[in-house]
């Protein structure tokens, strides 16, 4: 059979930043931002638990909530995200718990990481691999992705609370964070 040369029909961005970005370091005195969404109540609950622990360690916590990303509202969202990233030292972004919300969590996380601040995207287990694929396609394959169990949003608040407690230490570890200087020195 005749051999021919065919043209590759695919295109993708070629650049990539494989860096994880800077570690979060000591939490005390840092401004920590949580990206929330409007779908996953479980993420609101987990963020509350984690924020309380971080505030107890001397951090200041702020929130930014993702809504629609199209139209005038989407344009305003993009601007407010940029402005919010200017006000924080560490970014924790979630929740990658569906397709489009993984997409936007990762896209916002890449924006945070590219701004130079310690950044972690939070995903549930079934969307972990997808989050890494999107981070790579977004030019930031080194993005830190912290994984929570799945399913999560289907649980009650009472059931989610122990998950938040159980996964806090792991979050700090992935972020390269410590609650106190003593802890960091140790």
């Amino acid at each position: 059979m005749a051999q021919v040369k065919v043209l590759d029909p695919t295109a993708s961005r070629q650049d990539d930043n494989a860096s994880r970005g800077p570690d979060a370091g000591v939490i005390a005195g840092k401004r920590i931002g949580f990206r929330l969404d409007q779908i996953w109540r479980c993420w609101d609950w987990i963020s509350e638990v984690w924020a309380a622990k971080l505030e107890a360690a001397g951090a200041q916590v702020s929130y930014w909530r993702s809504t629609n990303r199209s139209g005038l509202e989407g344009e305003e969202q993009a601007q407010s995200l940029d402005a919010w990233l200017q006000t924080i030292d560490i970014a924790i972004l979630g929740l990658a718990n569906c397709g489009s919300c993984t997409g936007w969590t990762v896209r916002d996380s890449v924006a945070a990481a590219n701004s130079g601040i310690p950044t972690v995207a939070v995903a549930t287990a079934n969307f972990e691999e997808f989050a890494h694929v999107l981070a790579k396609r977004g030019g930031r394959s080194g993005l830190r992705v912290y994984v929570l169990p799945y399913p999560l949003n289907e649980l009650s608040r009472e059931e989610v609370h122990p998950v938040a407690e159980a996964y806090f230490e792991g979050l700090l570890s992935l972020m390269g964070a410590s609650l106190t200087r003593e802890e960091q020195a140790a």
């Binding site: 059979m1 005749a2 629609n68 139209g71 999107l134």
Partner: protein, 386 residues
């Protein structure tokens, strides 16, 4: 909280134009304008289809090998430079004319369809189309297209019997070309870059149909939505087709009540708390359109009536669902949640066979907003040079 109304943004897809010299045109030049990587393959449809599946280029249906000769032939029937960047797709991949043509050749699309495909790609790449979410979502959503103008007949875009799928026409190949571009350039691959739970048959060849303007009592869709007269394409995202059968109604209001109530169901994206707003696209058959037009003066009146019926009582929803949409300010004073923020967000067009009886529901994917683009007139380079 108040209702989130849909307003277009001022953002545009800023595709940088190529910086190469234009000293010679697409057809008469010694320069190798085609920059894609060449890969050795067998010049046989069956073998190449298998090869494409291995490479992750294909959709499983037979593909035409995109040899340099075939790609150049396709280009020579148009007047586009292959290195022109038409759009930046999600994650900044560059969709050039060359990539469009390679995928169009693979799909078997006619040479004359290039400008339609380009306009379609431009439309879905606009930020307000929100292709990033459309690609990634667990939903079955895919971009679909309504074509206006004489190009419908020139390209055999169906707008009568079976227009939403199944008609034997090369429009299927055009739709498939767009889908291959979605796969190979824009990044909508199930299980990899798309988390779609079920997918849709529309992810193979899309829905590419025309509006039956000659049977419509109203101005063409592109003219009404974007002020574009003549050849134009309107892209909208859809979860698929939903049929609305009505064998009993007798007047405009009754038909519209059936349509409005039918498209409003709790699991539709337009009622999801994940996004505060949504459009709703509906195809109305010519028979029904004529009856409706006798009872209602303008298309705005028709949109208003459908909008009124396309709503649900808030207490019809389960508590968690209701609480979330309530927090978004979407429960109105009448205790109802409306499918779209305003009547203008009900996108109507006329299509379908003369058997009537049915309407075509095309539910949107929330924040993805329909986009209309004019279709340029192709002037083949050989003619332009004369």
């Amino acid at each position: 909280m108040s209702i989130h109304v849909i307003k277009p943004s001022s953002r545009k897809n800023n595709a940088a134009k190529a910086l190469v010299s234009r000293d010679c045109g697409p057809t008469g030049c010694e320069v190798d304008w085609l920059t894609s990587i060449r890969v050795e393959a067998e010049d046989d449809i069956t073998a190449f289809t298998d090869f494409s599946l291995e490479k992750g280029w294909g959709d499983g249906l037979p593909l035409v090998p995109p040899t340099e000769s075939r790609v150049r032939t396709f280009l020579s029937g148009n007047d586009r430079y292959p290195d022109e960047i038409i759009a930046r797709m999600p994650d900044s991949s560059e969709c050039t004319v060359e990539k469009i043509v390679i995928n169009a050749v693979m799909a078997g699309a006619p040479v004359e369809s290039l400008e339609l495909i380009i306009a379609a790609i431009e439309a879905i790449a606009e930020p307000d189309f929100e292709l990033y979410g459309v690609n990634a979502t667990t939903a079955p959503v895919f971009p679909a297209f309504v074509v206006n103008g004489p190009v419908r007949d020139a390209l055999n875009i169906p707008y009568s019997y079976g227009c939403a799928g199944g008609v034997a026409t090369k429009a299927n190949a055009i739709g498939r070309a767009i889908r291959l571009i979605m796969r190979n350039v824009a990044g909508q691959v199930a299980g990899t870059t798309s988390q779609t739970t079920f997918g849709s048959p529309g992810r193979l060849a899309s829905i590419l149909m025309g509006e039956w303007e000659e049977k419509s009592p109203w101005a063409p869709l592109a003219e009404r939505r974007a002020g574009v007269e003549g050849n134009a394409v309107t892209a909208f995202s859809t979860m698929g087709t939903m049929n609305v059968l009505d064998t009993t109604s007798t007047g405009a209001d009754a038909f519209l009540e059936m349509i409005g109530k039918s498209v409003a169901y709790p699991g539709a994206n337009c009622f999801s708390p994940s996004m505060e707003y949504s459009e709703m696209t509906i195809g109305i058959n010519p028979i029904c359109a004529a009856i409706i037009a006798k009872g209602l003066r303008s298309i705005e009146d028709v949109q208003e009536v459908i909008w009124k019926y396309a709503s649900l009582p808030a207490d019809f929803l389960q508590a968690y669902h209701r609480e979330q949409v309530e927090a978004q300010g979407r429960i109105r004073e009448d205790g109802r949640i409306y499918a779209t923020p305003e009547p203008k967000d009900i996108v109507l067009f006329v299509c379908g066979g003369l058997g009537g009886l049915h309407a075509l529901g095309l539910h949107s994917f929330g924040s993805s907003l329909s986009q209309t683009r004019p279709i340029a007139r192709a002037v083949p380079a050989a003619i332009a040079a004369e």
